[in-house]
Amino acid sequence: MTMNPSMENNQVAVAVNDLEKKFGTFTAVNHINFEVKQGEIFGFLGPNGAGKSTTIRMLCGIYTPTSGSGTVGGFDIVKEQFKIKENIGYMSQKFSLYDDLTVEENIDFYSRIYNIPKNERKKRKDETIELAGIEDFRKSLTSTLSGGWKQRLALGCAIIHKPKIIFLDEPTSGVDPITRANFWDIINKMAAAGRTIFVTTHYMDEAENCNRLVMIYHGTMIAMGTPEEMKTKVMKSDILEIIMPHAENWLDKISQLSSIKETALFGINIHAVTDNAQKAIAELNGLFQSQSLSDYSVNKIKASLEDVFVSLIENYDAEHKEK
């Protein structure tokens, strides 16, 4: 694999500036700013309806922004949409292939749409089939493939023209964990080969695989950084993990303590957010002893991305409620 020499320059693959998209009076994307460097795996994290797909569609030249600007691969997202489309790969949420076409026919179709030269097509087709691991199903109708195979075939079709920047919109929704892991191997390999990956997801464990992340909520960027930065710098509060029997019954009592900001159930345990860990631990000990509970433990733990996300969302909701 040859590394792109521009990679060392930290060239910008995607940049957006004050990007906004409105549908009528509804603001789907609210003045966002970020940059993606070449060769990065850039994650766009947020719940459904947060504006992830709308953003990705603006970057792929499908939607025109209401205001703001941006470039993808150096091309303007408002003025050069067709240039962008020639230079990117995009895989939509439903990995939509033509079900009534065979595997090979689907590949041929995209290869012709992207104007792959005739003498290259066979080689690319073989590569795509190898990527999807469906050598035995070349002549099968795509409708007969399982979800994981379809997903990889869709990816293969979307990158058949070898784009430098690849946009994946929730590429792993609805596939099993093994397939997901497998898919992330492919993503990592592509990034290692110098390609830029822009991926949206709502799976926190997937977000950990990204070099950098943006968290988006109600169309607004609520945080940006590496996963590590998210957990340390963005998340200023501490997380206490409380392990105890019947934790769910204690949730209300614990959240009433003055030093505790928020509580949430994580499995059978409670995660409590606090700005003063020492005081909180003291208060918790006091509460449990007064109820003569002994088989519990309270530990300060490192925040997970999910903690960070939940905490940020609650801050956001609280702020916007006040308004």
Partner: protein, 377 residues
Amino acid sequence: MNLKRILAISNKEFIQIRRDPRSLSLALFIPVLLLLIFGYALSLDIDKVPTVVWNQDASSKISRDFLLNFKNSKYFKITKYTDNYRDIEYLIDSGQVMLALVIPKDFSHFIESGKVAPLQLLVDGSDSSTATIAMGYVSAVVSRYNVNLLVNALAKQGIKPARSIQLRSRVWYNMGLNSRWFIVPGVISMIIMIIAALLTSICVAREWERGTMEQLISTPVKAPELIIGKFLPYFVIGFFDLFVGVLIARFLFAVPFNGSYLLLVFLSALFLTGALSQGILISTVAKTQLLASQLATLTTFIPAMLLSGFIYPIFNMPQAVQAITYFVPARYYVVILRGLFLKGNGMDVMWDDAIFLLLFAFFMFALTIKAFKKKVF
């Protein structure tokens, strides 16, 4: 525009039509079926009108000679004889006959004595247009009989009848007044409309419904490439159906074709372009296949059937409805097809219809691309 991308889309569309039994039968079998059904069953000719006769004067030669005029006419078929009104009532009620002729007892007596002889005709008026025509046939037979009586009476007195008008009619284009010749070209135009509208109405909506459009519009495909690419296969199918339609018309129904085949191809291409664009436009506006095919039926097929003059003459319609027919492209195409088949018309008389088709094709195509761009890009 990139020809390779257009062909890629056409090729894909062809494969999809080939694998979809519904589209395939709509494209290949339904047209033939429609042509056969309409060609054979929809005859506007009225002959062999079923008639019952009650001859109360059966013993006279005069009454029997008079009835021969009906027996020998191809327009009547005397299916029953009776001797009472109850039977007549029953036969008309049950629809077994349309006409009942009652010759009174004194029929021959009145004629011989130079008086006016009454003849009763009972008509089933529930089908008013057929009844009107059948009554016309009867009065024609009676008038001719009256003229003969008059001539004979005068001849007996040695008087030659005065000079009279003799009508010498020549029917142009369809000498036998065979209504099939009139219907079949109309059916062809209707079939082209069905293929164009129904087949294409699903072709864009299907991509939205299955989510493949999302992927497609992220590729460098441009709107005109996509529309033309989708357009081509249906254009080929439309011409195939036209070809089959003309073959059936010529050789099964023996409809003459007196015009130029080159003009047929050229003008059909215009009509097809407009009609296909309309189907794709509907498909673009409606996001589900079901809604699209319902809209297509409502806005193209039904007007083509009722307002094109294919069965019902436009000049018979109320003014307001006539005004609407100007917006039904099939109207012009029906005139053109009849002109080509029966009259052997050239552009010198069809130029105005051709211009309307050209406008329709151009306008619809432009509108479709605009609607598609607006929706997607």
